[in-house]
């Protein structure tokens, strides 16, 4: 996306930002996915340990707390990738007949609503984290502070917020220029 073309055509700023945002969204999603992979390995080790107690092995302590931690982080970190690719489930039955111009406005409304929800999620989740920090709550078995887990989620929520804001900009640009964004699969 960012390579210069021979005829002097340069990618527009919004497209460069879009490429960057996609890399950011993909990077954090992969981080979340790696968390899941680690949990899979830990669970297999734990289950094996539990099955082989007679041989002196043991399950991993607090394995389900690890699963919750990794799953919570993973889901938060997956939100930006889904948003930037417009892959949330939606019904295109009526809007498919409405023409490109109307659909670009609908895209904008969707993106603004999603941005507002992303903001609500990020801010309230952050305040929830401060609550947990203030109470000094820890998990039952592993005794790690719950606010750590919330902080991991907050990283995903923050990227989600930034990406949602970018999606609003992208939609405004699409209305202003009448162009579809060069990246992302707007309608599939």
């Amino acid at each position: 996306m960012t390579t210069e073309h021979a005829d002097g055509w340069q990618p527009r700023r919004i497209d460069r930002i879009d490429a960057g945002m996609r890399r950011l969204a993909a990077a954090i999603a992969i981080l979340g996915g790696m968390g899941l992979v680690l949990v899979i390995l830990a669970t297999v080790a734990s289950v094996t340990g539990r099955a082989l107690i007679p041989l002196g092995l043991r399950p991993i302590r607090g394995d389900f707390e690890l699963i919750e931690l990794a799953a919570g982080f993973a889901v938060f970190s997956f939100l930006p990738w889904c948003q930037i690719n417009r892959q949330h489930a939606s019904v295109e039955l009526l809007t498919a007949r409405l023409g490109d111009a109307v659909n670009r406005w609908i895209d904008l409304v969707c993106d603004i609503l999603m941005f507002l929800v992303a903001a609500l999620i990020a801010v309230q989740h952050g305040r929830g984290m401060l609550d947990k920090y203030g109470y000094g709550e820890t998990t039952f078995v592993l005794q790690y502070p719950i606010w750590w887990a919330y902080a991991a989620g907050l990283a995903g929520a923050a990227v989600f917020l930034v990406v949602s804001l970018h999606c609003v900009m992208r939609s405004i640009d699409a209305i202003a220029t009448g162009l579809s964004p060069t990246t992302g699969s707007a309608h599939h």
Binding site: S46, V47, I67, H88, A89, N103, A149
Partner: protein
Amino acid sequence: MSSQEIALLAFPALLVLIFLRIPIGLAMLVTGMGGIYVLNGSFAMITGQMKHLTWGTFSSYSLSIIPLFLLMGQFASLGGMSQALFKAAETWMGHHRGGVAMAAVGACAGFGAICGSSLATAATMGQVALPELKRYGYSGELATGTLAAGGTLGILIPPSVILVIYAILTEQNIAKLFVAAFIPGILAAIGYIIAIAIYVRIKPQSAGSRARAPYCERFRSLVAVWPVLVVFLLVVGGIYGGVFTPTEAAAVGAFGTGLVALINGGLTPMSLKRAILATASSTAMIFLIVLGAGIFNTFLALSQLPQTAAALVSDGGFNPWLVMFAVLVLYLVLGCVMDSLSMILLTVPIFFPIMVGLDFGLSPEEFALWFGIIVLIVVEVGLITPPVGMNLFVINSMSKETPMSATYRGVLPFVLTDLVRVAILTAFPAISLLAVRLLY
């Protein structure tokens, strides 16, 4: 205006948003928040709830099964399990009239046993089977119809993401639901095969022929399928036997399919990245809907609509079977425009309390299992009913030369067998409960 009337108005409002292409999860969130604001006159309840609801939902131990099952399906297709299944089914059944299409159904059923999602099953098997169906002279109509319908076996045959959600909503045992879904899932596959057999007799030109495969080739093809069987037995057997929790089973299953993919050379850093990103999209989509439904259902509970409706129906002295019929028709109509997960999340909290109060001659637990299976099947029919069947779009987009109208025609025989199966399973709860009664 009473709070129940406000809640009743929320449904048309929600549908308008959904039809304007607002993502379904987002539409539920917005409608639910708006409804709570109207009922309470302030946002205090929402802001308070959102402090911990998001993390609580995303990190839920029982819901964490969903990304794990999705990753398991991704690994299974990287590991070539979809090809192995189709190859095996094809060498055994391909020479019959319509046999390659029947083999596609069989392979979908097999893949459904290691994949909990219909869309993933349709997409994965579509990639494998569509080119082969074309090569053997099957019409685009029959090929796309078969695979769209076959894909629904992904959620009918356990493990099933939708059943996990139903189990959480109704506080039922996931293992028992998986066991109960097994026989109806097999019946579905048999129904589809019968539909193909009738279809190719009515339209003989829509299927080509294929030479009979020698037995040595047939048995060799079975060897490649054993990992599928092992993973399935490990996951479902492990849950049933109480060896693992369902979440652990999903992790073990993902490990198993991942290991097969690694050994087969299908799992590389590049393909792992793609598998994670595909899982990321589906997971985020599902959890946004779950979060939205959480807010929407908080609003409904606040309005006391579900309790009022349940009281109305149980005091009304209606025939339980008539109520059941009405509910099923409503599901089928909704299914034409909504996705299965949203339907389950929106309707089960309302319908389940109503239905469980009616007398079908079953214990509450047996009723919950039976109702779950029936609902699973009717929402799954929604995946293949025109105009908004997700599976139809997924498969049609993979077969460029087939017009959408042909896919709509091609899937009709399968929808018919679905309706017949719903009627039979509704009339005879014993079929859905047989496996559970035998095993527990």
